[in-house]
């Protein structure tokens, strides 16, 4: 028996502007979890193991593109609890008692696929950290207040190559702090991505990723996804911009990208930037194995 089409025959859905590679184009179901002024978060289930949280974003402000982001021209009128189905390239949201309220041709939406990031030279790290810290003092001071002790423990464990201490420090940081993506997770994501991109610190990044991976169940679904993607080197556009500018841009480029990241969320931008700066400070860590 053929399943009923998602849309009436001959109907056309609107295309989005870009989609990340983790935005499903087929066989996903779920619901709208959260709606802000610029973003609707869809909690989807593709399979028992694949449950992406897709951010439908209107493209304004920070974070226009991301690995699990669908950018549209205008945010549909969605509400928490609306049902979401993805079939045959079409995403349809249905409000209880109302019917379909939004449809997007995700299959026809261009894929956002940034090229690989070039490595960050350790010789530049100190100057970059200074440039980043200079751009957002008030916001970064808040992040420092929230995170210094816990992220400091993570950095200390990495520097001393102490595996047990690393696991303990990560456990105290994952899921810690305010926000839908708690501060600790944002900072760890920034730290992970930077370490993985910093020439000579790749091994430390791998150890950190392993420690974070084992704690993904200790935070929100959205933050767990953020961390899982960071473990694989994937980041939203605002973070990607900072890392690219660190690798190949001028100091002015770095400051501009940092300002863009700081505009993200209530605390997420500053917390992520704090993690990136922390990652740059790993440039002088001695290269030996974690015990």
């Amino acid at each position: 028996m053929t399943a009923a089409p998602v849309l009436p025959v001959g109907a056309r859905a609107d295309r989005g502007r870009s989609r990340g590679r983790h935005v499903p184009t087929a066989d996903a179901d779920g619901e709208v979890a959260l709606v802000t002024t610029s973003t609707a978060y869809l909690s989807l289930r593709v399979s028992a193991a694949v449950r992406p949280v897709v951010a439908v974003h209107d493209g304004r402000g920070a974070l226009p593109c991301g690995p699990a982001t669908l950018v549209v021209d205008a945010l549909p009128q969605l509400r928490p609890g609306d049902r979401v189905r993805v079939r045959d390239g079409l995403l349809v949201a249905t409000a209880p008692g109302v019917g379909p309220v939004a449809t997007v041709d995700v299959g026809g939406t261009p894929l956002w696929a940034p090229p690989p990031r070039p490595p960050i030279e350790p010789a530049r790290a100190s100057a970059l950290a200074t440039a980043l810290l200079g751009g957002g003092s008030a916001a970064l001071a808040g992040a420092h207040q929230r995170l210094a002790a816990r992220l400091g423990a993570v950095l200390g464990a990495l520097r001393s190559r102490d595996g047990a201490a690393l696991d303990e420090a990560v456990a105290r940081t994952v899921g810690f702090g305010p926000g839908l993506t708690p501060s600790g997770d944002d900072a760890l994501a920034g730290l992970l991505l930077t370490a993985a991109n910093l020439a000579g610190a790749e091994a430390l990044a791998a150890h950190l990723a392993a420690a974070v991976w084992s704690r993904l169940d200790a935070t929100t679904a959205l933050a767990a996804q953020l961390l899982a993607l960071a473990c694989e080197g994937e980041a939203d556009e605002a973070v990607d911009d900072v890392l690219r500018s660190c690798a190949a841009g001028s100091v002015a480029d770095v400051a501009r990208a940092a300002a863009g990241l700081l505009a993200l969320g209530a605390t997420s931008g500053a917390d992520t930037l704090y993690g990136i700066v922390s990652g740059l400070l790993l440039a002088d860590a001695p290269a030996r194995a974690v015990a």
Partner: protein, 512 residues
């Protein structure tokens, strides 16, 4: 102060964005008698931190639950949690929480709006095309007229909806109906005009805006403006809405003249429209037809008055509706104190936000011997084209994934910038559409472009001719926009027709 206690609650699978969580934490912490408060996701790290701060935590919670905890006096803690529950049940999207506070959310459906006792009898539908026909059908079922702003509605659906509406005595305006003025209320893109004896029925939004705004500027007014949708006068749809509107207006004593606006209809459809106009004519009303591009004399003997342009239709309507001021001639000669375009330049480049303005200008220029390419005729939109070129920036090529240029003219403005920079550009022709629905700062981008090219000062700058569709009642007013453009050296015509004629005159007088 009594001994401190702690209270907390969790809300399963409840998401709030970070700003809301921080705001709630701060609000609770600021309450009298509260010494510590937190509103965070219930992750192990956050629960541990809360415990360290002396706040009780639940034995079992998921990281996807929302945790609110406070420490302070017993009364203050109870009050703080009650406040938290109230905040969590607010309009940001509560599920399951109840505070006893009535929050009236906007209606989610037309039926819900009607159930709430609202007496509206017209539904303006602007949803993705895939669902628009279904919503229009629901509105008709509820006894409401329909203005269907959405496009991408199938022809079959349009025919069925209009048949259904006609059987119930209800109008279906659209699909792709961008303009209407119903009982003085502007819907979609429309200009602020006074009430008066002229009704406009049209398949073109900007065409209707041009006629209604000019009728107002000539001192008369508008009884109704009824949009039909771009396909209404096709053979398949058979002018269903235009004919129904004519029948309704025949019974409207406030309407003395009806202006019909469209591209030329199919011959069979034209005959149907002529028949539908008979009751209005029999009542003594006049019917003016601005079927742009229809050969002169094509409707002689039908009782309809043929207008060769949108401006002429308004002029004729006001004259027929009299008494009132006698309208001026539609087109004045090109002012002789102005130069005739950039020396050495030879090409006309036109950039329009209104599709009908582009269409009308093409026809007018063609009649005056200036033959132009256009994306409306499949001729592309490349500013480096070696031919005279008029571009409709409301075409799909520019609006897929972007707002219409009447809302965001930046793409058009950039094209004008490029056109002015080209040494072979002699004359630039453009429109500005004001009114309800349009960009409230419609010429800011253009003025920046004009200043960059020193339009008002440089002797070798191209001639820029503009038409501003609007009235002094629009915000911003037409007078203001005309003044701004004039200061920057733009020659502002009184109608789209006149602007095209001036552009043609400038080219022809310079021997281009």
């Amino acid at each position: 102060m009594g001994a401190e206690v702690s209270r907390s609650t969790t809300v399963p699978n409840r998401y709030l964005d970070s700003v809301a969580l921080l705001r709630l934490s701060a609000e609770l912490a600021a309450l009298d008698g509260i010494s510590a408060a937190t509103a965070v996701m219930a992750t192990p790290a956050n629960l541990e931190r809360a415990r360290e701060n002396g706040i009780e935590v639940p034995a079992a919670a998921s990281p996807n639950d929302l945790f609110v905890g406070v420490r302070g006096t017993a009364d203050a803690c109870d009050a703080a949690l009650a406040l938290a529950v109230e905040r969590l049940s607010g309009p940001e999207g509560a599920r399951g929480a109840s505070s006893g506070t009535a929050v009236v959310s906007p209606p989610r459906s037309i039926a819900q709006h009607v159930r709430r006792g609202n007496a509206a009898d017209l539904a303006l539908i602007s949803v993705p095309g895939a669902f628009a026909a279904a919503e229009a059908g629901k509105a008709l079922d509820l006894g409401m007229h329909v203005m269907l702003f959405s496009d991408n509605v199938s022809l079959e659906d349009e025919v069925a909806l209009k048949r259904d509406g006609a059987e119930r005595g209800l109008l279906v305006m659209g699909p792709d109906c961008g303009t209407a003025i119903v009982n003085g209320v502007p819907l979609g893109f429309a200009n602020a005009v006074r009430h008066g004896p002229v009704a406009v029925v049209g398949a073109s939004g900007t065409g209707m805006q041009e006629v209604t705004a000019r009728v107002h500027r000539l001192g008369s007014g508008v009884s109704q403006a009824i949009g039909c949708g771009g396909r209404d006068l096709s053979e398949a749809v058979g002018a269903a809405t235009m004919c129904q509107a004519l029948a309704m207006l025949a019974d409207d004593p406030a309407t003395e003249v009806v202006v019909l606006v469209s591209k030329p209809p199919h011959p069979d459809v034209l005959a149907r429209v002529v028949d539908a106009a008979a009751p209005a004519l029999a009542r003594g009303a006049s019917v003016v037809a601005a079927f742009l591009g229809l050969p002169t004399g094509a409707i002689d003997g039908t009782g309809l008055v043929q207008a060769p342009s949108l401006a002429a239709a308004a002029d004729l309507a006001v004259a027929l509706a009299g008494p009132g001021p006698t309208p001026s001639a539609s087109t004045r000669p090109l002012p002789h104190d102005r130069h005739h375009g950039r020396p050495g330049g030879r090409l006309l480049r036109g950039a329009f936000t209104g599709g009908t303005f582009c269409y009308e200008a093409l026809a007018q220029l063609d009649a005056l011997g200036v033959h132009c390419a256009s994306n409306l005729k499949g001729g592309g939109s490349d500013v480096s084209s070696p031919e005279h070129l008029l571009v409709d920036f409301g075409d799909d090529e520019f609006t897929v994934g972007r707002p219409h240029p009447m809302i965001d003219p930046s793409v058009r403005d950039a094209w004008v910038d490029a056109a002015l920079a080209r040494p072979d550009t002699a004359v630039v022709l453009l429109d500005v559409v004001l009114g309800h629905g349009s960009n409230p700062h419609p010429v800011d981008g253009l003025l920046t472009v004009f200043e960059r090219h020193r339009l008002g000062e440089a002797a070798d700058a191209p001639l820029v001719v503009a038409h501003v569709c609007g009235t002094e009642l629009d915000a911003p007013s037409r007078d203001r926009i005309v003044a701004l453009l004039s200061i920057d050296g733009v020659l502002v015509a009184d109608s789209n027709d006149e602007a095209a004629a001036w552009a043609a005159a400038a080219l022809l007088e310079a021997g281009r």
